[in-house]
């Protein structure tokens, strides 16, 4: 009878535990990572961890022995000793020695981490509220990377995908076997670019260009995910990083493809688009680039992010509307989208904003108008 209750109890407990365990793996420790530096950091971490554990075992061991043995209820009589210069010296000297032993490998790893010389690939990373911009210096390749997890997943209206909150539209692609230098800065507030598997975390600070580097060995091709690590405003939790390590050959092909895609995009701006085409595209662009602040239904958010539905800008002068989307509003969270989106995307999203949610202006903004406005 007892065991049956016990069984039932344990099955309830197991059930409770396994429900969330369906999508989790109880990860306890720092990832070893894939670079030499990340391995050294992991080793340092484990070394200092075990040092702490052993000090803890000794200190708490003595303490719990006293608690057990030297208690009044067991008739312990207090001795009155309260000083020992020898002991004091000993427990000053021993930790000092341990710390020096610890400082040596820490110093050499740090020197290694600071050596950004002889990089073969230079990638400039710019933090924006709330997306990352990547520029491959000297390669004429650059793009913005936005989170693709939908608002529906975040607000529990749709099931969460495997890489919930850790997926983006454009991966930052890097070659393996080559030293990559990251030049990290920010456009508005401070962000931090962090990919745990390569142990690179560096603050992205407006007015500064910080350097860091990684060398992902050949054979370690794959996707490495990270997040912004410095509070940067309301969507700080929603600007992930996906690093895609490919072989050097694949990387060269990718660069060529990127340049071709950019040219195609520029050519597309000269094409003709119907109002319906622009509306359909505009809805996609809006969901990706605008909805996080202005709301999925254009309703805005709080007092900081104004509503677009029925707003004087989205229903008033078209040129002013184009201007604010292209150039942003300095001193506010409204960014300049001229560099972030293509002409077609810009035309589409402005068209969408002027016709969605009851803003029925009937206006159509064409990519050519955007090109003109950029002149």
């Amino acid at each position: 009878m007892f065991s049956r209750t016990g069984q039932r109890l344990s099955s309830v407990v197991l059930g409770l535990l396994s429900a969330p365990a369906a999508f989790a793996d109880w990860e306890l420790n720092m990832p070893k990572g894939v670079t030499e530096v990340s391995q050294s950091i992991y080793d340092l971490h484990m070394l200092i961890f075990w040092i702490c554990v052993w000090i803890g075992v000794v200190v708490f061991g003595v303490m719990f022995y006293s608690i057990f043995a030297h208690r009044k209820s067991k008739g312990a009589k207090a001795s009155q000793f309260h000083e020992s210069l020898g002991l004091e010296l000993l427990w000053t000297a021993v930790p000092t020695a341990i710390l020096i032993a610890m400082a040596i490998p820490a110093t050499s790893t740090l020197i290694e981490m600071y050596d950004t010389t002889d990089a073969q690939v230079d990638i400039k990373i710019t933090g924006h509220q709330w997306k990352w911009q990547y520029d491959y210096l000297g390669e004429d390749v650059g793009f913005f990377s936005n989170m693709t997890t939908s608002q529906d997943e975040i607000y529990d209206r749709a099931p969460k995908g495997e890489n919930y909150l850790l997926e983006v539209d454009k991966h930052v692609v890097v070659p393996t076997g080559q030293k990559i230098r990251f030049l990290i800065t920010a456009n508005d507030v401070i962000h931090a670019w962090w990919v745990p598997e390569i142990a690179v975390k560096k603050d992205a600070i407006p007015g500064y260009i910080n350097e860091s580097w990684a060398l992902i060995p050949e054979g370690q091709e794959g996707l490495y995910r990270g997040q912004c690590a410095e509070l940067c405003g309301v969507d700080h939790g929603f600007m992930p990083i996906v690093l895609e390590a490919v072989t050097a050959e694949q990387y060269e092909v990718w660069l060529v493809d990127q340049r071709a895609a950019a040219e195609a995009e520029a050519a597309a701006a000269l094409g003709d688009y119907s109002h319906e085409e622009l509306m359909t595209k505009g809805e996609e662009v809006y969901a990706r680039s605008c909805a996080a602040c202005h709301g999925a239904e254009g309703g805005g958010m709080g007092s900081v992010f104004p509503a677009l539905a029925g707003s004087p800008i989205a229903t008033g002068d078209m040129a002013a509307h184009i201007d604010i989307v292209l150039n942003g509003t300095p001193g506010t969270a409204m960014q300049a989208f001229a560099v972030q989106l293509s002409e077609v995307d810009l035309a589409a999203v402005i068209t969408y904003e002027r016709n969605a949610w009851g803003n029925d202006t009937g206006d159509t903004v064409t990519p050519k108008m955007i090109l003109d406005a950029k002149q």
């Binding site: 999508f23 003595v62 303490m63 312990a76 508005d188 407006p206 939790g237």
Partner: protein, 527 residues
């Protein structure tokens, strides 16, 4: 409210005034100490409620309860209220009550200023809390309020926040001046500096830290105010300013601030452990020197909060080495406490239980601090839940357990009644379990890569977050037990002796329980 009878004392005829004006006008260190403690306790519940809102949102992935914007307001206000509203005023309250009793002084040296420094606080925090109800919302940039998020990109309530910080700063500085003046000038004849109880010593050092760094905090918020309203560019890169300058100035305040929140707790457990081990504190002099060393080192380690901002290598190395050095005096303190227990005759009343938990759990927080000091590893730890786990281990089972231990220890002296020991032990065990269930899993999710200050997280962090939330509710609710116990003890209970605890030593145990409204009108003589 607990010390109205003063018939033990010659000066009983001018006891406290009646009604609310007693508390508004009082210059009595015991009244003011009581007010500080109740204020801190109120703030603990307000800040704790915010913590529970945060933990509820983080119970599972996805946004369920609140919006990310409000989440940021909650993390910011939780930090500010706990640091400036709960922990610091609670220590000042304990100092007000106990420092004069421990050094044999009739009152604090500057009683009117004492009144003022308390009464600023409700207004400062009233103003800060009021911003929650404004259209722009409360400050949302984290309790560390890094520029330019807190300047160019801040909600308009930032101005109230700056004014509030100024007021708290003035209050803290006045409190610190008062404590220094009392300790240096009003000690009973025969009480030399090296005969002072350790609680007095740690507070003396803390008070100097406060005077040194609160003006720095005032400076940094004033620079923010100038940037926001008067067109300067201290922290605005576009105007030639430097966002990293903010962090240097802030942490030059912020790191000593960390020790402001722990040194008095060191003092409290250094009083309690000898009492319940019935054995003198081991290494009194080395405790004083260790505390002073920690205070000194606290001024030269600030940039370990900034290992990832891109400091030059040499700077990084300097701050790593200096930070590692802190482990040495801190270790000395822990070894001394353990040696005090060794071959003692221990009993385990509630204050002792909280002190023992303090020694173990604060040390765990110290270990993770040592890990964070290793600069290369910090690149992985920085701004993750590992850091959240670390500083909550030193602040909750560290500072807060120290305060709670002190309250249990001195409560019979304040109220004249023993608290209910069973209820006290129940409070302890619930708090002990709750605090560990809340904060220990945060080490794991931090190492696994969860950044701090995010309202929603990837799926692999779900389980430990759920556990932490359960722990937070256990911990939060068990503080209601504490509230109940306090009210019960104030209203009555077994009468306390003057000595209160069998092994207690010191001047505060020579006055009657409850301590009369005026004590030591004639200074005692310390041999």
């Amino acid at each position: 409210m607990t010390t109205t009878t003063a018939h033990h004392d010659d000066h009983g005829h001018h006891g406290p005034a009646k009604g609310i004006m007693r508390w508004v006008l009082t210059t009595n260190h015991k009244d003011i100490g009581t007010m500080y403690l109740w204020f801190a306790f109120t703030m603990l519940f307000i800040g704790g409620t915010m913590a529970l809102i945060i933990r509820t949102e983080l119970f599972q992935p996805g946004m369920q309860l609140i919006e990310p914007e409000f989440f940021n307001q909650m993390t910011t206000m939780h930090g500010l209220i706990m640091v400036f509203g709960a922990i610091m005023p609670a220590f000042v309250g304990l100092a007000n009550w106990m420092v004069p009793l421990m050094v044999g002084a009739p009152d604090m040296a500057l009683p009117r200023m004492n009144n003022w420094s308390f009464w600023i606080l409700p207004f400062a925090f009233g103003m800060l809390l009021m911003t929650l109800f404004t259209e722009a919302g409360a400050p949302n940039f984290g309790w560390t309020f890094y520029a330019p998020l807190s300047t160019t990109y801040a909600p308009s309530s930032v101005t109230f926040f700056i004014f509030g910080v100024h007021m708290m700063g003035i209050s803290s500085i006045m409190g610190a001046i008062n404590i220094i003046a009392t300790i240096l000038n009003l000690r009973a004849p025969g009480m030399t500096l090296m005969k002072m109880p350790l609680f007095v010593w740690t507070w003396l050092i803390t008070a100097y830290l406060l005077i040194a760094v609160m003006p720095v905090l005032a400076g940094v918020v004033t620079m923010m105010l100038m940037d926001i309203h008067f067109g300067t560019s201290f922290f605005d890169a576009a105007g030639g300013g430097d966002p990293v300058l903010f962090q240097h100035v802030f942490w030059f305040f912020g790191h000593p601030e960390v020790y402001i929140m722990i040194l008095p707790a060191f003092g409290i457990v250094s009083q309690i452990i000898p009492t319940f081990a019935r054995k003198p504190l081991f290494g009194y002099a080395s405790m004083v020197y260790a505390t002073s060393s920690i205070a000194f080192l606290s001024f030269i380690v600030w940039a370990h909060h900034m290992f990832t901002v891109g400091l030059p290598l040499q700077t990084e190395l300097f701050f790593m080495y200096a930070t590692m050095l802190i482990a040495i005096p801190t270790g000395v303190k822990v070894f001394n406490w353990v040696s005090t227990m060794f071959r003692g005759s221990m009993t385990f009343e509630t204050p002792m239980l909280f002190s023992l938990a303090f020694v173990v759990l604060f040390t765990i927080g110290g270990f993770s601090g040592l890990m964070l000091a290793i600069a290369p590893a910090d690149f992985q730890y920085h701004d993750t839940y590992f850091v959240v786990a670390h500083f909550h281990y030193v602040l909750v089972p560290g500072a807060l357990f120290g305060i709670i231990a002190g309250v249990y220890y001195w409560l019979p002296k304040w109220t004249g009644n023993y608290y209910n020991e069973k209820l006290g032990k129940f409070h302890f065990w619930m708090s002990f379990i709750g605090v560990n269930v809340t904060f220990f899993p945060m080490h794991f999710i931090g190492l696994a890569g969860m950044p701090r200050r995010i309202p929603d997280y990837a799926l692999q962090f779900a389980d430990f977050n759920a556990i932490a939330t359960v722990g937070a509710f256990i911990f939060g609710l068990s503080q209601l037990v504490f509230l109940f116990l306090l009210i019960k003890t104030i209203r009555g209970g077994e009468k306390a002796t003057d000595q209160v605890w069998e092994g207690a030593e010191g001047l505060e145990w020579t006055v009657p329980s409850p301590a009369p409204y005026h004590t030591f009108a004639e200074p005692p003589h310390v041999k």
